[in-house]
């Protein structure tokens, strides 16, 4: 099967500072790919580059079509949902309004009510708090809201930026479990960026290891997990 998302020779820069130096990576249709790396390796920038939020050169193809150089909102409308670093919660809007915004760009609004139910099934706590100001949610709940909002756009590809950041281990486990079932049951492909390598490799089928803006190791997640030298020198566990 062809890849859903492919990047070829992807460079990115902020102002004059180059952050990505010619990445190649792919996300298979229906697959989960993870990008690992230390702080500052360029993980977040990679996701931002896919969504047209930074200046890039090189090629990014989604479903065979070039998306590099397009505006963020147009890329999103093709079926790519991005839960950004810091979760991007609309703090003064209610939980429900946040979710509605997730579905804003969708053309088929008929199944909207069903999607609300489905999202509340995945995240019962959001259902209980749907009239609450989103800024009053805990960190874990806001991360759930971010994933739920992404899901409301009925995406084909979900970009997750460090969903484990700053959360208690139990909450992280719960979120990863939900991401897995979204992937299996909804057929949503996932590109996951993480520092928590152990959990990410557990979830993913493909992995890339990033170091200062370059891919240094790539391969099936299972292989990376097994390779002791990679684990010790790059993943630190």
């Amino acid at each position: 099967m062809p890849a859903l998302l492919e990047a070829d020779n992807l460079h990115a820069q902020y102002g004059g500072i180059k952050v990505l130096h010619g990445l190649h990576f792919a996300v298979e249709t229906g697959g989960i790919t993870t990008i690992l790396g230390a702080n500052g390796a360029g993980k977040t920038t990679t996701l931002r580059a896919v969504c047209g939020m930074v200046k890039t050169t090189g090629e990014v193809r989604f479903d065979g079509r070039r998306i590099d150089g397009k505006a963020t909102e147009d890329i999103v409308r093709l079926g790519i949902a991005h839960t950004p670093e810091g979760r991007g919660t609309f703090v003064s809007l209610t939980v429900e309004e946040n979710l509605k915004l997730g579905a804003y760009a969708r053309r088929d609004r008929t199944s909207l009510a069903r999607d609300f139910l489905r999202v509340y099934q995945y995240f019962p706590v959001l259902g209980e708090r749907r009239r609450q100001q989103a800024g009053t949610l805990s960190g874990g709940e806001q991360q759930m809201l971010a994933v739920a909002r992404a899901l409301m756009s009925a995406p084909r590809l979900l970009l997750l930026d460090e969903p484990s950041l700053g959360l208690a281990p139990l909450v992280v486990k719960e979120i990863f479990r939900i991401v897995r079932s979204i992937n299996r049951e909804e057929g949503v492909s996932v590109l996951l960026v993480e520092q928590n390598a152990a959990m990410a490799l557990e979830l993913a089928d493909h992995a890339y290891l990033l170091e200062t803006g370059r891919v240094v190791v790539a391969g099936p997640a299972a292989d990376l997990k097994k390779d002791d030298s990679i684990r010790r020198s790059y993943l630190g566990y």
Partner: protein, 293 residues
């Protein structure tokens, strides 16, 4: 007692006008996080356009509607042409740009139409309505009515339509909004367009009272700032309540506090701004956003 009630009533009347301009201010603040100092002069300019249309022989309500449309397009274009280039500049720079816009609009209006005051018609009957000893101006009542209708429409729009929600989202967090597929720059333009429309309403309601001249909104803009501050810059309802409160307060203080009289009335508005900012900075109806860090 009659004097008291009469002063309250005429305070409500002027307050209604402050309220509609305050609504426009709140509107832009909500949509773009910018306090627009040019709001009053945009309203003045729209009113001159209405005057031109009336002069060309158009009936009042056709002029009214057409002016609103022109004001909307004008507001949208001002955002595109003047505000967009400084969109990412610090807030102070944007405020200065709106002040520049104020000066330009006033001068251009003076250049085209001269600074001589012009009468502007009211759509409402000139005959006052009398209940007991209290006299209501028909124009005043009409102006308040129109302001309330606009407030209602605005509320319904922001609360219940996807577009209204998207506009609120775009104002609050542009980056996240883009990630939801919202065309943020278009939303900001819409916000300016809507605000210019309400401004035009305010202008056309003020002009019959103060006469049309390039500086006619100067004082009213300060009252509108007071109204928006009192009500809370984040609340359209607050803007209206604030407007009415400011109108009534300045009237009562002007009547009963001898040394203030009519000359120092404007000071009342400024004093109200300072008191509210000291006691309750978010205003009566404003919402202080809760943020978890």
């Amino acid at each position: 007692m009659d004097i008291f009630i009469q002063q309250v009533v005429s305070g409500l009347a002027t307050g209604g006008i402050y309220a509609s301009l305050a609504l426009a201010l709140v509107m832009i603040y909500q949509a773009t996080d910018v306090v627009n100092f040019a709001q009053g002069s945009m309203a003045m300019f729209s009113t001159y356009l209405a005057w031109t249309l009336l002069g060309a022989g158009l009936p009042y309500w056709a002029t009214f509607g057409l002016t609103l449309v022109i004001a909307f397009v004008g507001g949208f274009l001002i955002e595109r042409i003047v505000i967009r280039p400084v969109e990412n500049a610090p807030i102070l720079a944007i405020v200065i740009v709106t002040i520049g816009l104020l000066v330009i609009l006033v001068s251009v209006a003076g250049w085209i139409y001269s600074y001589i005051q012009k009468p502007f018609p009211s759509p409402f009957p000139a005959k006052p309505i009398k209940i007991g000893n209290i006299v209501f101006g028909a124009h005043d009542l009409g102006a308040i009515g129109i302001t309330l209708v606009i407030l209602l429409l605005l509320f319904l729009f922001f609360r219940f339509t996807p577009l209204g929600l998207a506009m609120r989202a775009a104002a609050q967090d542009p980056t996240s909004s883009r990630l939801c597929g919202i065309r943020v720059s278009f939303m900001l333009g819409l916000g300016w367009g809507l605000a210019a429309t309400f401004g035009a309403v305010a202008g056309m309601m003020v002009a019959p009272i103060v006469f049309l001249d390039p500086n006619m909104m100067g004082g009213i803009q300060i009252y509108a700032f007071a109204a928006a501050t009192v009500g809370g810059f984040t609340s359209p309802l607050g803007a209206v309540v604030g407007g009415l409160l400011v109108g009534v307060t300045e009237n009562l203080v002007g009547t009963y506090v001898r040394f203030i009289g009519t000359e120092l009335k404007l000071t009342v508005a400024l004093a109200m701004i300072i008191i509210v900012l000291l006691v309750k900075p978010s205003g009566l109806f404003g919402r202080a956003t809760i943020k978890r860090v």
